[in-house]
């Protein structure tokens, strides 16, 4: 028994070495650290499922998935584990900016690639950029800046801004104000995790804004929208897609109808491959894919495209292969700016009802070939 397993282990070790020796386009070990438990698990599960869908059947990819519990210290610990014990080549999966800030600098400092399927904090796009860090989703400000641009084009003059009082919230509102040319008549920063917005809604009602622009992720957005619907306030509602994504719309229901939100992807986006992705995702998991699922899917596609061009052990070549972004994104055209953040179109979507399902529909382009403003600070 013992000898048998020893032999088996030896064989596997040999096979492993053989695969490595295969050189060009050899096996790549991916470490995915994402949020799979606790209140924010929905996003992580979507990223994971999207990624695994694209990687399905690809035996050159060896993927380890671990749950960070949305805690930075756990994420750091997992990154260390994956690099030091699992010897992964590429890391990915982190959902939250604060976790990314905790993990990414040390990952790239240890010479590993990191592909971000969701978070894009400004520090990593500017001064803290790294040749080994690629953002496949967006820089955090992208949807907001596009929102401001769209508001300018569509005659929105007075907005009321609202976000939680934490960096992602404040950055988002700053991003909107960067492009928005109208008047900001009110600005409120709420407590992170707040669930009752009666006070804020009263303030919005009392203001002379024609539009409320808000960013409230997860349960906060659900709470706000339900309460907004009950308040009878007649103002336009806009925001980034994060509060109106598929996983969340089901919980808000009809209260979200008519809300405009900016995103780089939508399931009705008419680009090659997208319809197939949506169908494959539904077949595999029995639910509609979300923005996060699309990002996870694209991240895997990017990785697979680079694996066809270079060996991951050859860092410079693999970096160049990633930079080419030679894959068919479900978002349509996609390329990297010099700071390894996306250049992509951002669309305006509207929440509609298709049969019984509340979902998003594209109503126009908010920004073309959008890229972030932090790239100027990036020296690499």
């Amino acid at each position: 028994m013992k000898i048998k397993s020893l032999v088996a282990a030896a064989c596997m070790a040999l096979a492993g070495t053989a695969a490595l020796a295969d050189g060009h386009g050899g096996k790549v070990k991916v470490g995915m650290i994402t949020t799979l438990s606790g209140g924010g698990a929905g996003l992580g599960i979507d990223v994971r499922d999207g990624f695994l869908l694209a990687a399905k059947g690809n035996d050159m990819l060896d993927i380890v998935v671990e749950d960070d519990q949305q805690k930075p210290d756990i994420a750091v610990q997992l990154a260390d584990k994956m690099i030091q014990s699992e010897k992964v080549d590429v890391l990915t999966g982190i959902i939250w900016s604060n976790l990314a800030m905790a993990v990414v600098p040390s990952v790239t400092a240890q010479g590993k690639f990191y592909l971000s399927p969701n978070a894009g904090p400004s520090a990593l796009a500017g001064k803290g950029c790294s040749p080994l860090y690629f953002n496949v989703a967006w820089q955090n400000d992208a949807f907001y800046e596009a929102g401001g641009l769209w508001a300018n084009e569509n005659g929105i003059g007075k907005v009321f801004l609202m976000a939680p009082n934490y960096p992602a919230g404040i950055d988002g509102m700053t991003g909107f104000k960067r492009t928005f040319e109208g008047e900001v008549v009110g600005e409120v920063y709420t407590k992170l995790g707040q669930t009752d917005y009666a006070a804020e809604i009263a303030q919005i009602r009392a203001s002379d804004a024609d539009t409320v622009y808000f960013f409230l992720p997860g349960g906060m957005g659900i709470s706000f929208m339900k309460q907004w619907a009950g308040s009878g306030v007649e103002k336009n509602v806009m925001g980034p897609a994060f509060s109106f994504d598929q996983g969340i719309l089901g919980a808000i229901g009809d209260a979200a109808l008519g809300v405009k939100n900016t995103a780089h992807w939508s399931k009705d986006l008419d680009v090659p491959g997208n319809a197939d992705f949506v169908k494959a995702f539904q077949d595999e998991y029995g639910r509609l894919p979300s923005l996060y699922a699309a990002q996870g899917y694209d991240t895997a596609l990017l990785l697979i495209s680079a694996m066809g061009k270079a060996d991951v052990k050859d860092t410079a070549a693999f970096q160049a292969a990633l930079e080419e972004a030679d894959f068919q994104s479900v978002r349509g055209k996609f390329s990297f700016a010099a700071n390894h953040h996306p250049i992509q179109d951002i669309y305006m979507r509207e929440v509609v009802k298709e049969g019984d399902v509340v979902t998003n529909q594209i109503i126009g382009v908010a920004a073309t070939d959008h890229t972030d403003v932090y790239g100027a600070d990036c020296k690499m």
Binding site: S37, G38, G39, A41, G42, I45, N165, I170, E187, V188, Y189, T190, K191, L192, G193, T195, D196, A198, A199, E200, A202, Q203, R205, A206, G218, G219, M220, I222, S223, K226, Q227, A229, G230, S231, G232, V233, G247, I248, G250, A251, I252, G253, D254, A255
Partner: protein
């Protein structure tokens, strides 16, 4: 800020205070009668909301959903009282904190296992979905008004229950002398189960009522739990009256603090730092309130030494 807006904000503060009271009343009863700190009270709130969302999904009836929330939370309360909680009455607070902390983990992940990781849908009934016009021209969501009314009715009912009924007499006896009620021939373990289930049902009802205007998701109970603790500590642990006063104080402080503090700081600093500092202070305000109350009254407003 206009007076109308101020009145509306006071109403909002009252409404959130009343919801907190439903949570805090159960918590404080359970502490008063059994001497137990129950951190898992937030899980019962969550169970109520999930039961309501599930039943509303099947039947489409909000009334049935509320009934289901009451029943599910009371049932869950009975079960955990009989299986776990009753072993903790003689233990020190440390063991109680730990065991009920463990219950939170079990309930949260168990709910996620049953219902998935995505928030559930639960909306207010169509008849109550719009606003009503109050005297003075205030537009106020009718559902929130309903919450205020239901909450006040329950508070009244609870005071009556404790002041007038047989079980109320036993509860009061239990609060003043735990050994005494056993000597009087009351079935203590039955009384404890009933009190616990009653507290659980109130939490479940609060969860369902609030779930309709907030997000029904795993982990929704813990922030409310901490607030409810702040409430009963301010009011004095074991006192229903204290819970009511504490809940209203916390609701008003939280709501008005968030609105008024940034305005206050705006008087003497530039808008953006006023917003930042005001919001930061507002999010700490109820804890500051609690610390102040305890400094001057170490056993809360209506607590016994």
């Amino acid at each position: 800020m206009t007076p109308i807006l101020l009145i509306e904000q006071v109403l909002n503060g009252l409404q959130s205070g009343i919801m907190l009271f439903l949570m805090a009343a159960g918590l404080t009863l359970i502490f008063g009668v059994m001497g137990l700190i129950n951190l898992a009270h937030g899980s019962l709130y969550m169970i109520g909301a999930f039961a309501a969302a599930a039943v509303a999904g099947w039947t489409g009836s909000f009334t049935l959903a509320l009934a289901a929330a009451l029943a599910a939370a009371a049932l869950a309360g009975c079960i955990i009282e009989m299986v776990v909680i009753r072993r903790l009455y003689d233990r020190d607070h440390l063991d109680q904190v730990l065991a009920t902390f463990a219950l939170i983990l079990i309930f949260s992940e168990g709910t996620r296992w049953l219902f998935g990781s995505f928030p559930l849908y639960l909306d207010v009934p169509a008849a109550l979905s719009g606003p009503v016009r109050l005297p003075g021209g205030i537009l106020y969501p009718s559902y929130r008004l309903l919450i205020i009314v239901i909450g006040l009715l329950i508070a009244f009912g609870l005071f009556q229950l404790i002041a007038r009924t047989r079980i109320g007499i036993q509860i009061r006896a239990g609060e003043s002398d735990r050994e005494m009620i056993g000597a009087l021939g009351v079935d203590i373990s039955r009384l404890y189960t009933i009190v616990f289930a009653l507290g659980a049902a109130l939490a479940g009802l609060a969860g369902a009522l609030v779930g309709a205007i907030q997000s029904v998701q795993v982990g929704m109970g813990e922030p409310v739990l901490i607030l409810a603790f702040v409430v009963i500590v301010i009011g004095g642990i074991g006192s229903i009256k204290g819970a009511l006063v504490g809940a209203l104080l916390v609701g008003l402080t939280d709501t008005l603090g968030g609105v008024l503090l940034p305005l206050l700081f705006g008087l003497f600093m530039d808008p953006s730092s006023a917003t930042t500092i005001g919001s930061a202070l507002a999010s700490m305000s109820i804890y500051i309130l609690m610390a102040l109350v305890l400094l001057f009254r170490p056993t809360g407003l209506y607590g016994r030494a």
